[in-house]
Symmetry: C2
Subunit: 187 residues, 2 copies
């Protein structure tokens, strides 16, 4: 059961929104590393114990906020061909995720996440976007790989390098991965 599953309306929802907003505001004002629970609580007009009881600790709260910000806000662009769509999506994904901000969000999402549900949500977002791209391609009559294949061959390598080898990542790498996974689809 996720942290978002609170009573949908009323005070709880207001508190949640207000705390999330406080995190975002303060993160941009004083920086991600200067955040503390009492600071966030003051800005949100809430007592610290409320945050501790609802989220457990700062990491879990930041994890929640991070997942929210990692949710794609728009469907992938349609360029009329699978190869363009997938390449463009991979480039944009890498660009967003490999930035210092993006990497901080990924780490936060992974961190305060004992059961892995927040991380799973991130993966689900990516799978959803890829599913859209592939479905459109299928409707055009193109042969497409499986979503899982694209995850293994495009998303996973990018994420691995973002997390474990933050150097030397650029759009060329994203393009190459996209091209390789498609090149293998039909001989």
């Amino acid at each position: 059961m996720s942290r978002q599953m609170v009573r949908p309306g009323g005070r709880s929802a207001r508190v949640q929104a207000s705390v999330h907003a406080a995190v975002r505001e303060l993160a941009s004002e004083v920086g991600r590393d200067a955040l503390t629970v009492p600071l966030i609580a003051r800005r949100a007009g809430v007592t610290p114990s409320t945050i501790y009881r609802r989220w457990g600790d700062l990491q879990e709260l930041l994890s929640d906020v991070a997942v929210e910000r990692l949710r794609p806000d728009t469907a992938p662009n349609d360029h009329g061909a699978l190869s363009s769509d997938l390449t463009a999506w991979a480039e944009q994904f890498l660009d967003e995720m490999a930035s210092p901000t993006g990497r901080a969000y990924i780490r936060d999402a992974l961190l305060g996440d004992p059961d892995g549900s927040n991380a799973g949500q991130c993966s689900a977002y990516a799978a959803e976007q890829i599913g859209l791209v592939l479905t459109r391609a299928t409707e055009r009559g193109e042969r497409t790989p499986e979503v899982e294949t694209v995850i293994d061959r495009v998303v996973a390598p990018m994420m691995y390098r973002i997390l474990f080898r933050p150097d030397g990542l650029d759009a060329t790498y994203a393009r190459r991965l996209a091209a390789e996974v498609l090149g293998q689809t039909g001989p």
Copy 2:
């Protein structure tokens, strides 16, 4: 500059060893989540301020210990053929890393790691082991993929799923990835 770069002998080294040992002991006694700096300090016979000054905070200390424990203790077994060697290595890697303990270490290594050097070290360990396997194969006259290819096609997918989709991982998956990266080497 890594945390291991302390004065190699004498008191500093003793403190480092004693603190690392305290972390490992307490982690298995009271559980990873119950660790605190004062607790570790008491067990190590050291004052908390020593730990704070040397490591900064609990996360960085745990990150150090995690990297140490993620270092492979032995060279990959030699089965006489690349396909067996790589499959066996991937199976063992997944088995170790996908366990709750392994995942905790990976997360710790990623976490308290502002500059990414600890995570880079983990990746380097894997690259080293794979390099050994591939070199042996080359010496036998087998055609081999590049280390980077194996990282992208075998290590990255396993790591991605360990971190983002902890369910449904088994040795079959590791074998399939190993087989696929080799199947593509020479048509």
